[in-house]
Symmetry: C2
Subunit: 204 residues, 2 copies
């Protein structure tokens, strides 16, 4: 047996995606069962949708009503706290930048920040849609608020997020959550069963 | 215990939907486990999409490529034969009309016809997109070809399909397959797990 680490699961998401929030509650644990790590990759679905021509789910007639019901039902089934933020969908530019700022020095801290953003948005129902809101979440984790606000305007950090969006489109990401493992893509919280089976079996 | 029959599962689909085809292979069996019957309801998603503003999945950049892969992978997991018809998506007006024509006198025969349309489209890869193609499938089941062709142009039958589309939109159907049972909607082949659990438990 080789001791080489298995390739990680790439987890693409938008902080404003409620299905990505639901997936975020489980992905680390699922991956760990199969000795995989997870690389969290926040992106802006608005950029992706410019390519796919989609509009956000909840803005679509019929589908929006269905999706609200499906989200609540899925959350209950998973035993997950779930509320929609008062402002929804929200532009996740600021928290995404802060994520990549934190990830430069401490990926684990960036992941903790991502989880805090998701719980703020989908448990406390507070949209994390501005530098102030994004810095508030950082401050709760003991991160310097002023430094966080500055990072939101840092050209290097802005560029990191821009590149992450580009890379996601190039990788075929067409929605969130979107997982890639061993070159195989899985789109949707409702494909985590396929993803887990893929990890367990090596594919079919 | 009351002997009253439990309400049926309503199964809305478009004959051109590959995910509906995959669902059609299992829905009768799943419902039967919980003493339910299934009412098959072909509709035209094109009419629904006029309300939701969607475009067919495979016509969308990025998403189309993903969906082709997901369909093949899902079919393999289910052990289902699966090919995309050479002409896809196809307009399912003719087979839908023939379905409602047959259903007038013999719902079981209409269901057998629906299954034959699906296998023609997604196993033999032949688009059932014209009165001739729809009548060919009927003829294989021993149905008079001339009568089938006439039914495709029968104003009463046309009206039945038009009403079925209207009823679907009114019921909130926003894609296919779409199931409603006991007032609860489930959209997608990938919600059959929720549907089955709902039937088993009465909801959560």
């Amino acid at each position: 047996m080789s001791d080489a680490a298995k390739p990680p699961v790439e987890f693409y998401f938008d902080f404003s995606s409620p299905y990505a929030y639901l997936a975020s509650l489980r992905i680390d644990e699922v991956a760990k069962l199969y000795e995989r790590t997870v690389i969290w990759k926040p992106v802006l679905l608005g950029v992706v949708f410019k390519t796919t021509g989609n509009v956000p789910l909840l803005d679509q007639p019929l589908k929006g009503d269905y999706v609200k019901r499906d989200l609540a039902r899925t959350a209950r089934l998973l035993g997950a706290d779930f509320r929609l933020p008062s402002s929804f969908p929200f532009a996740a530019v600021a928290p995404s930048r802060l994520f990549y700022w934190l990830a430069q020095d401490d990926p684990a801290r960036a992941n903790a920040y991502a989880k805090a953003v998701f719980s703020t948005a989908f448990q406390e129902a507070v949209a994390v849609n501005s530098p102030d809101a994004a810095a508030d979440v950082a401050a709760k984790l003991g991160i310097d608020r002023g430094a966080a606000l500055a990072a939101c305007q840092n050209p290097e950090i802005k560029e990191k997020l821009r590149l992450a969006n580009e890379e996601a489109v190039a990788a075929g990401v067409c929605g969130a959550p979107y997982f890639i493992v061993d070159g195989e893509p899985f789109w949707g919280n409702d494909r985590m069963d396929h993803l887990e089976r893929w990890l367990a079996t090596g594919g079919w």
